[in-house]
């Protein structure tokens, strides 16, 4: 089945699923309330904060190569090893080499979208390495045999009762739908794995060039344990995640927390500047940072798409998107869903199979209006559509249809002829349509405005 057919089928199912729609709307409206409140209570001027964040990210784009090199130099000086992965394959190879070197049998992993991007869990399964998700949401989807539903809240689509049932079945826990009890079950299951794992794998929310640091924000403390308990820490990070200086976090941490979850800052914020240093009591003995390109450099060279590399993966555009709210995260069938996913997936994976995502938007611009770093996401969807058309991926019927349309619309005479013809076709064919189809078609009047104007003009 093609990705497009798959998308259409799934989106139809979800569009009809009233229960799903209400569940997601409820989850997102709680989020909306918190975000609205936080924007006012935490920022004197949210719009100005967005503008400032966008300026910093633009600076990063202007200096990306040198900032990345500075990061490598600084963090390497403290014993971390930086590896540059051109694509998914190279990132996978780096990981397998490290796993082999350290004879790893078990890996604990915190939430990271780059690991989704390189299909990390599948890679481990194929190579007989146990991989355990330590983020509660990720653990839930892993146990359910699913993919993350949302880049920030992977199990947004699961009710507490569903999670309770899942824990009962897969972990043998007593059934409950109490949030605190559920968290305790997960904690008990996970605590052991931190000390028995050979490698801890994480992503990063930011990497800081000037001070050579890795920054992780989270709410469960699992990320901190994942990177510090096992003897080896691997961070897999997209090359666009750089910030120039540590002081930039004073804006970006609250910005990300506000847009991501409606919090002032997240519960745990870790700044890591390397593996365990001499004389230190804890932390991993070895630390590797895999800097993942996987299509980002190519986007970087496209002037009109460069801005999307400012994205800090807060998920605000997903929550704001009325299409995402209707069809849910799994319908996209990509690691990155919603508006940002619809921009980058066709760019990363090719228009051939993925251009439909750029068209599956009403261009309402809610995404652009909530983006904390001011990316005009909906305009990038338009750019994707234009690129898809240039690459010949818009299909014969649309191409022909719009050619004829533009021929008709560039002459009033031709439009009038088509209008008369159209009205006749409408009158003749309407009775052949089913009742429900007929209701979907508006009544087409016999006389267009251009014709009615004659009568009206005489009245005034």
């Amino acid at each position: 089945m093609s990705e497009f057919t798959r998308f259409i089928n799934q989106s139809r199912l979800f569009s009809r699923d009233e229960e799903h729609r209400l569940k997601i709307l409820k989850a997102i409206s709680t989020y909306d309330d918190k975000v609205d409140q936080m924007k006012i209570s935490q920022f004197r001027d949210w719009q100005q904060a967005r503008g400032y964040a966008s300026k910093i990210k633009q600076y990063v784009l202007d200096h990306l190569p040198t900032l990345l090199e500075e990061f490598e130099e600084k963090i390497s000086a403290r014993g971390a090893e930086v590896l540059w992965a051109r694509d998914k394959k190279e990132a996978q190879k780096y990981f397998l080499d490290i796993a082999k070197r350290h004879q790893a049998k078990r890996v604990v992993k915190s939430k990271s979208m780059t690991t989704e991007e390189i299909e990390f869990n599948e890679l481990c399964e194929d190579n007989d390495i146990d991989v355990i998700e330590s983020d509660l949401g990720e653990l839930i989807v892993q146990l359910a045999g699913e993919k993350p539903y949302h880049i920030v809240t992977p199990a947004m689509h699961k009710s507490k009762a569903e999670i309770g049932h899942l824990f009962q079945e897969s972990l043998g826990a007593p059934e409950t739908d109490d949030a605190e009890e559920l968290t305790m079950i997960a904690r008990e299951h996970l605590r052991k794995t931190y000390v028995t794992s050979d490698i801890g794998v994480t992503g990063a929310n930011f990497i800081v060039a000037h001070e050579g640091a890795l920054v992780m924000t989270e709410n469960e403390g699992n990320g901190r344990l994942t990177m510090s308990c096992p003897p080896v820490h691997i961070a897999i990070v997209g090359i666009e995640k750089v910030l120039p200086r540590l002081s930039d976090l004073s804006l970006f941490l609250p910005l990300l927390a506000t847009s991501g979850t409606g919090q002032q800052v997240t519960g745990y914020n870790s700044i890591i500047k390397g593996p365990r240093q001499e004389g230190e009591l804890d932390g991993p003995e070895k630390m590797y940072i895999i800097l993942l390109d996987n299509g980002r450099s190519e986007l970087y060279t496209k002037h009109e798409f460069r801005d999307i590399l400012c994205c800090i993966r807060c998920g605000a555009c997903l929550n704001a998107c009325p299409v995402y709210r209707t069809i849910g995260g799994h319908t996209y069938h990509t690691p990155y869903q919603g508006p940002v996913g619809s921009v980058i997936t066709p760019q990363f994976r090719g228009m051939n199979h993925w251009s439909h995502l750029s068209f599956a938007s009403s261009l309402c611009a809610a995404c652009s209006s909530v983006c904390p770093v001011h990316i005009d996401i909906h305009q990038l969807l338009l750019e994707n559509r234009w690129e898809a058309h240039q690459e010949g991926k818009t299909g014969f019927s649309w191409n022909t249809g719009l050619k004829i349309w533009s021929w008709v619309m560039s002459s009033r005479g031709r439009l009038n002829t088509m209008s008369t013809l159209g009205h006749i076709v409408y009158r003749w064919f309407l009775p052949f349509l089913s009742r429900s189809k007929r209701k979907r078609i508006p009544k087409i009047p016999k006389r267009s405005f251009e014709k009615l104007w004659n009568d009206y003009e005489q009245q005034i």
Binding site: S15, V323, A360, S362, A365, A366, W386, M409, S410, S448
Partner: protein
Amino acid sequence: MVSLFIPCLVDQIYPEIGIDMAKCLDYFGYQIVYDRQQTCCGQPAFNAGHRDEARKVATKFIDVFKSSDVIVCPSGSCTAMVKNYYPLLFSDHSLLDTVQELGTKVFEFSEFLISENLVQKIQGSYSGKVGFHNSCHSQRELGIDLEPQKILQKIDDLELIQPQGESVCCGFGGLFSFKFDEISAAMARTRLEMFTSLGVDTIVTNDPGCLMHMRQESIARHYELKLLHLTELLAQALKL
């Protein structure tokens, strides 16, 4: 002298919206011109990624309107196309200067009434519980926020009831509603229910696209709702 910019959807499907807009402008004392050579702004092709086709239709639009003083349109979306996207469409083109100037002369209907301080002149009544649906392009592309509501608030007997927060898309999106019809229809239901849950009996919008989409969904799903364009409601209230 005000030039009427009649979107293709109004021209072909809802001519009464255009007539009502003309009546309202006449009521406020404006001289109106309508150039019958106009067809469409080209947005359907532009949004579908067919920029050459869009440019062809837009060139026709520019030709019709280039010497107008003020252009008023009953659609935020079509206005935004001319104002915000023509400069992109003609970025490497000899018409760029003309297009940029054109952008400063085109106004969405409610935006025009507010900028001309005409709200004080409204004297009319409409009895009903009215909710206003701001089109996405009017809100986010043109930055029109409370202007239409100010117009509605001036009408006697009209009880304005608004869902909280920014406007949410009705799901129309032009060709999107054909290509992804079920997503689009579900989005319309979500939007309609934001109003029905508050007891609204009339939804007013400033875009013929949103109007058509919500109206058909409302008919198909038997919602007890009246859907009107802002120009229609105003003409009714002013008894034009």
